[in-house]
């Protein structure tokens, strides 16, 4: 975590995190809600954040790490600026989501969970986002693209790359 640009963003985040910890301190079963909010703040959960959570809630780092690695939503690595999630739920799978997933990875030269070198895109598989009527479906951050074919992929990637150039 942290950057070398000399800005104060790191501290602002740390402050937000301690507010979150304070809010949940006396709630039973606080760890998971705290981790959810910490991930909102930092985008992922690096060791330093896990340590802060462990200290704040007065539990062992091992317990925090155990929980973080158990649940797929918690990530130890940063995600791309555009996080692409490919639905591999059953409804999407029977309609060819596997090919879409392969195509995306090939087009961006990635493995599951990785991030492109420029930090723009990450691709991961997910399970049913509840838009099965539009299968096969992918989500780029909060935008849903449905009724896809392999041929649509390049266009979608381009659309986000163009956004960057603008």
């Amino acid at each position: 975590m942290g950057c070398n640009c000399g800005c104060v963003c790191v501290d602002a985040n740390a402050e937000k995190l301690s507010e979150v910890i304070e809010k949940y301190k006396n709630t039973e079963g606080a760890l998971i809600p705290v981790l959810h909010e910490a991930q909102e703040i930092y985008g992922y959960l690096p060791l330093s954040v896990q340590k802060a959570v462990a200290e704040g809630l007065d539990i062992s780092l091992a317990e925090v790490y155990g929980v973080v690695t158990f649940y797929t939503q918690f990530s130890l690595n940063p995600k791309g600026k555009y996080k692409i999630q490919v639905c591999l739920g059953t409804a999407c799978y029977v309609k060819g989501a596997g090919d879409i997933y392969d195509k995306l990875k090939a087009a961006l030269n990635l493995n599951d969970g990785d991030c492109t070198e420029d930090g723009l895109f990450s691709v991961e598989a997910c399970r049913c986002i509840g838009a099965c009527g539009l299968a096969p479906v992918i989500m780029v951050n909060d935008d849903v693209f449905g009724r896809l074919t392999v041929d649509d992929i390049d266009g979608i990637i381009k659309q986000y790359k163009d956004k960057e150039i603008e």
């Binding site: 079963g29 809600p33 059953t90 409804a91 399970r127 049913c128 986002i129 509840g130 099965c132 479906v137």
Partner: protein, 598 residues
């Protein structure tokens, strides 16, 4: 309260939101204002209507005119024609598949005509973000009746008499579960709601929570009264942001109205609710794992006994029910157990919501009386299979379930018939497959899911499912041996008998049921090294159709292994020994000259 001459209901469920229904709402509002109709016409954002295939959907009352696949650009015409001039916009009406003519109202479409809505009674009817609309539809009447006229034991007796069984998968009688939890004496008890909806490809619970969150809240309070609990938790997937938001709004409103909190309806009964978000672990749908997760730990299941009715959340007596189970409760209290028990089959009462998806014309959400046949669901409600393909099988029960093959399509759907066929009701996902789906591949898909989601606590599930997956992988790659089937069967039997929780115990089901009904496909993969459906890549041959090939050489340049050769402007050929079947050539070819052959 202001009276409007027209109400426009717009679906705000996840599916329709993904296809821009929120944009449609804001377009509607701006055109309504532009025509100074804001005091005559009201736009209401509702939950899912069910016909997701045709979304976004918009219904205008009092006419009941239903517009389907509406785009933001259609809104101007709808406002100017329908609302200003009173002329229905015919081109946006749904077409009845059989009559091939337009119908105005949704209940005339086959898709709705055969349904019976109890759990979904308010979905697509009320605005889920306004508690008054729920109350206007008899909302919180059941809670009032329970608290003022019934003793806890009466409530339990009524639910038992109704014959309601759990909609989360197992089908355990709900009344009996409540009775068990009402018995122990404890300083604190809990009521939990399972909104983890793990079955990939199913979205019934999400739709109930998005379309009618108060029905679940009301039912949980009723359960709390019945067993003597004052605190409830709703455990919901974090992947459902819209449902989470609507629940938060609903809980807040219920508290403001005194329908949650202290001394509800001036009785001695107090009940409070909290939301807990899941974090993407399928096993947390299992009841004991869910409770461990609410406690803030790794969501690993616990051995049972002790059962949650005695030692559940924080070791206190706990009732856990599924979203849809709860959504039925207010109607049972209001209309009586006998009414509910008159619907359905002998041992499965009431209705069941299914999310139909896959190779079917009308993807969406349907609620049907128990005992409806699969044929009615697929053909009459679902509108059949697209592109004139043949129905091969329907999968129910997700990764714990199995498939129902074409020859058994007249099976009435209820808990017991599905178990007999080697599948299970599950939470309501129903995926239709056609001749292009390979059943070995589908079994592999589900096993990959279980391997991924196994929590790792017990070896039969952690290691056993992995071994089964490896065998399936071998078979689909053309490296299967004849002894593999026997190995799968032995593994399946042992895993079923020894796994700690339902996840492992049911993991072999997709394999066992495809083996039972589609043994010939396994044999084709193993003996003939062929995939009849043309899905398993390693067993396919990529060939260039000499008539279609223009000799542009693009495929040759794309091929990573130099397996393609030829001369410009003459048909190219693929060397099958070098080909690694990546499909890059097929994607690249602009003339669709490359084909996959089994």
């Amino acid at each position: 309260m202001q009276i409007y001459r027209s109400h426009i209901l717009v679906c705000g469920g996840t599916g329709c939101t993904a296809s821009k229904s929120l944009e449609i709402i804001s377009e509607l509002e701006s055109h309504i204002n532009a025509n100074s109709l804001q005091n005559e016409v009201k736009v209401v954002k509702t939950g899912c209507f069910g016909l997701c295939e045709k979304g976004p959907i918009l219904v205008i009352y009092p006419e009941g005119a239903t517009y389907v696949t509406v785009a933001p650009s259609d809104v101007k015409e709808i406002v100017e024609e329908h609302l200003v001039k009173g002329r229905i916009v015919k081109r946006l009406l749904p077409k009845d598949a059989k009559l091939a003519e337009v119908v105005t109202s949704l209940d005339k479409v086959d898709f709705f005509a055969r349904q019976m809505r109890i759990a979904l009674r308010n979905c697509g009817v009320i605005n889920p973000e306004v508690i008054d609309e729920y109350i206007a539809c008899d909302g919180y009447k059941a809670l009032g009746k329970v608290l003022t006229e019934m003793k806890p034991a009466d409530v339990i007796a009524e639910i038992k008499k109704s014959g309601l069984r759990g909609r989360g998968g197992g089908g355990f009688p709900t009344g009996v579960k409540w009775e068990l939890a009402s018995k122990p004496v404890a300083d604190q008890k809990y009521v939990c709601c399972n909104a983890d909806e793990g079955d990939p490809g199913a979205f019934m619970d999400r739709s109930v929570l998005e379309g009618d969150p108060h029905s679940v809240i009301e039912a949980m309070a009723i359960a709390g009264y019945a067993i003597g609990a004052s605190q409830g938790y709703i455990y919901i997937r974090a992947e459902y942001p819209i449902a989470v938001e609507r629940l938060q709004i609903a809980i807040k409103q219920a508290k403001e109205y005194g329908l949650l909190g202290k001394n509800i309806f001036d009785s001695d009964f107090s009940f409070d609710l909290e939301l807990r978000l899941g974090a993407g672990a399928f096993v947390c749908g299992e009841e004991t794992a869910l409770m461990t997760s609410i406690e803030g730990k790794r969501g690993e299941p616990r051995p049972r006994p002790p059962f949650p009715a005695n030692e559940g959340l924080w070791r206190k007596p706990t009732v856990l029910n599924n979203v849809e189970t709860y959504a039925n409760i207010p109607s049972i209290i209001n209309n009586g157990a006998d009414w509910f028990a008159s619907i359905g089959t002998e041992k499965s009462k009431g209705t069941k919501v299914f999310a139909i998806g896959g190779k079917i014309n009308n993807t969406g959400l349907v609620e049907i009386p128990m005992g409806t046949t699969l044929r009615e669901v697929v053909y009459d409600i679902g509108g059949g299979i697209p592109n004139g393909k043949k129905f091969k099988a329907a999968q129910t029960g997700g990764p714990s379930g199995g498939c129902i093959p074409a020859q058994l399509i007249d099976t009435p759907i209820d808990y017991d018939t599905l178990i007999q066929l080697g599948s299970m009701m599950g939470s309501g996902g129903l995926i239709v497959m056609d001749e292009d789906n390979c059943m070995v591949d589908i079994a592999k898909f589900f096993l990959e899911f279980t391997v991924d989601e196994s929590c790792g606590k017990c070896p039969p599930c952690r290691i056993g499912t992995k071994r089964m997956y490896e065998i399936l992988e071998r078979i689909t790659e053309g490296k299967g041996e004849e002894s593999d089937i026997e190995k799968l069967e032995i593994l399946a039997k042992n895993i079923k008998a020894s796994a700690l929780c339902g996840l492992g115990q049911t993991a072999p089901n997709p394999i066992l049921s495809t083996l039972k009904y589609f043994r010939d496909e396994y044999d084709a993969h193993i003996k003939d090294k062929k995939c009849p459906a043309g899905v398993c890549k390693s067993l396919l041959k990529f060939v260039i159709d000499a008539d279609k090939c223009k000799g542009c050489s693009l495929c040759q340049r794309k091929c990573p292994t130099n397996a393609i050769s030829g001369e410009i402007k003459k048909p190219y050929v693929i060397d099958q020994d070098k080909c690694i079947k990546c499909g890059a050539c097929m994607d690249a070819c602009k003339f669709k000259a490359i084909e996959k052959k089994a």
